[in-house]
Amino acid sequence: MSTTITTGTPEEKSAAAAVEKIAAERPRIEFGGAWDYSPAPESRDIVRLQKRYGLFIGGRFVPAKSGRVFSTINPATEETLAEVSEGGAADVDLAVKSAEEAYRKRWSKLKPAERGKYIYRIARLLQEKSRELAVLETLNGGKPIKESRDVDLPLAVAHFFYHAGWADKLEYAFPRHRVSPIGVCGQIIPWNFPLLMAAWKIAPALAAGNTVVLKPAETTPLTSLALAEICREADLPPGVVNVVPGAGETGAHLVNHPRVRKIAFTGSTEVGKLIQRALAGTDKRLTLELGGKAANIVFEDAALDQAVEGIVNGIFFNQGHVCCAGSRLLVQESIEDVLLEKLARRIETLRVGDPLDKNTDVGAINSKAQLDKIRELVASGVEEGARLHQSSCALPAKGFFFPPTFFTGVAQSHRIAREEIFGPVLAVMSFRTPDEAIEKANNTPYGLSAGVWTDKGSKVFRITSMMRAGVVWANTFNKFDPASPFGGYKESGFGREGGVHGLKAYVELS
């Protein structure tokens, strides 16, 4: 076959040459540079970083009592973005007291509808500043701008909108009960969806009439502090929302503070268990959203190209830093080859690199520590005898990056099949019958999510009903909505976030 491009620019001529070359070879799809995208960086000018950020307590930004600060970086470049005050025991105490006072004097006395109006205000302000916050989220966390722009921000806004409406309707959610708030809620959130998790936690807590002390993760404090600034712009009464950045120790102070009435934690199962133990015998309420090792089951009758998209979205979305990631692919033996061929081809089109580039699909790993953990587990996979498949993409020289990866020839006993990697690494296993798929899918201490791909309706209902997991995506994956309850079975935690069921975690019923 010949090409007819005879006139044109050098690019066009080189494209023509590339086409010629491929034409001579055996059937193979070539993703090359015939027409490449130019860099499309989102401007970071919209974000005005401060040199130093304080703790947000009682409606004001204040330094830590100890004067201690920590640096927060951009994981894509390793540059320091700012210094952030680190909350200690005295700061947590002050924050809890200010939250308690705000609860007693202001927030619990407010008419529920008025409470709702504040939350609507926050939603609107968040919407107005979406672009700035998306860029900030990407700068501080390393996730691709297209995700912070199209997923994190819109969903965070939606959470505030959704819960604002609940403020004056709680009695409808819990008929035959008197509904009252709990009091001061301590909320500890992870670094994978910093702003979105803050929204998941704060919105329902405020709607139900509680006040909040939020501890963002130590690597990603900036958007939580930006949200604090938004609370101030919304004229939210001082102390209703407090943000105290810090690491595990700060979190422990919050968990153990006697005036905190409820703890909501999203993070690792390991820490979750410690918290559950620490709260034993107290009257503090607890909800836990912990780790996962979700199975994504693809049957031979599935819409395979969409299944491949679901697999990719399941494990490479947010660099795989997702507790509900579809990190175990269970594929029916009869289609294993064709599906994996499609998957291998598809990961070649994933664009890995500068998170601020609007065409980047896979951004930076959140931290050096996390990158080390991913590398260690991938090495264990190779060592245990699984076959490694990786995208041939080039990685940036600076920053923390890891290429999209999957393993075949994985045994259930391999570490990569059992442990949560929290990175862009997929373990592929096969099955022959539905029962075998169900058994393998459930054979994990976790139970957060699962995926099922089949074109047969009755099979959808059977397999989804057999999954021991709190969220089951059939013919899709990694979908979220404030109206839809999210949370785990087994060691993935307890309690739900979102929907009617999520409200229950923030109300006292009598």
């Binding site: 268990k273 015998g281 089951v472 909505d481 079975y489 935690g493």
Partner: protein, 313 residues
């Protein structure tokens, strides 16, 4: 509980004095006493430990020896419960409701016996014993009627902003441990057991340590109610011995802690973290009251599963 092996031990009994010349004219025949065994996997078995505890009436009169369940009995009970639970969960709500109703029927038919046992063991007046048995029957009927309403009331269809059909339904948690209240033993047990199993869970119960007789007799009711073997497992014994093993068991998903013992509860709550067990602690002031029943008791032992499916052609 204190051991009371002296005095009436071994030969004593409610009618001991009158039974000396059984079968002779003017005397009633010698009473056949019941051997109280634990109920595990649908079978009445002696404890693997081979040990028993004597149970006395409130006034200290010997009533019976009951098996002292061991941690191995507990392990066996969990194993049986685990094996039986999926099949029970898979039965239709309609059938589960009928089986619970059958329990009420069987309890009703043996009401007099239970009244006597309650009177003997807890010293209840006939009227009070009768009230507790009536209330227990009513409670079973109450939960029988719940089986096919739970999903409708705890489930939701969620209006998500994208083109998906999204719904949440309650599902049983799996194997639930129950630390039954010491008193009232019968209505206390029924009030916690029924809501646990009606949604499809299997239960492993540590019975009232002081007053296990009526509870072990309840096993006879359950055994004749078409309840599949292993769905309820009733173990008598020493709670402080058994509760830690229950709370630390990796194959138990949740615990209903109605034991009312602060120290025991603290230990259970700590141990439960080993596999992120759900723990619900109860302090029910009046088990006969209507507030001691209802959907909340069921809801504590269901998981909510949310399912997404695209809408398209």
């Amino acid at each position: 509980m204190s051991r009371r092996t002296g005095g009436t031990g071994g030969t004593g009994g409610p009618d001991a004095g009158r039974a000396g010349a059984a079968g002779t004219r003017g005397n009633p025949p010698l009473e056949i006493r019941k051997t109280y065994k634990i109920w595990v996997g649908g079978e009445f078995v002696r404890s693997e430990s081979g040990r028993t505890d004597p149970i006395a009436s409130r006034k200290g009169r010997f009533l019976a020896n009951v098996s002292r369940g061991s941690r191995k009995d507990l392990r066996e009970a969990v194993r049986k419960a685990r094996a039986a639970q999926p099949g029970w969960a898979a039965k239709s709500a309609y059938l589960k409701g009928q089986i619970l109703y059958r329990m009420a029927e069987m309890l009703e038919s043996r009401a007099a016996g239970f009244e006597k046992t309650l009177g003997d063991s807890r010293g209840l007046s006939p009227a009070a014993a009768r009230q507790e048995v009536r209330a227990s029957i009513d409670r079973l009927v109450h939960y029988a009627g719940w089986s096919d309403k739970i999903t409708a009331l705890l489930g939701t269809v969620n209006p998500v902003a994208s083109s998906y059909f999204d719904f949440s339904v309650p599902e049983p948690m799996g194997v639930v441990g129950l630390v039954a209240p010491e008193e009232p033993d019968l209505i206390g047990l029924v009030s916690h057991l029924a809501p646990i199993i009606v949604s499809g869970n299997a239960a492993v119960v540590l019975l009232s340590q002081a007053h296990p007789l009526a509870s072990l007799e309840l096993a006879e009711v359950l055994a004749t109610s078409d309840l599949p073997a292993g769905i309820a497992n009733l173990i008598s014994g020493h709670k402080d011995e058994l509760a830690p093993h229950l709370a630390r068991h990796m194959d138990v998903q949740a615990i209903a802690d109605a034991g009312g013992d602060r120290a025991l509860s603290q230990g259970i709550a700590e141990d439960a973290a080993v596999n992120v067990k759900r723990v619900k602690r109860y302090a029910v002031p009046d088990y006969r009251a209507e507030s001691a029943q209802g959907l909340d008791f069921i809801e504590s032992f269901v998981e909510i599963k949310t399912t997404w499916h695209p809408i398209g052609a």
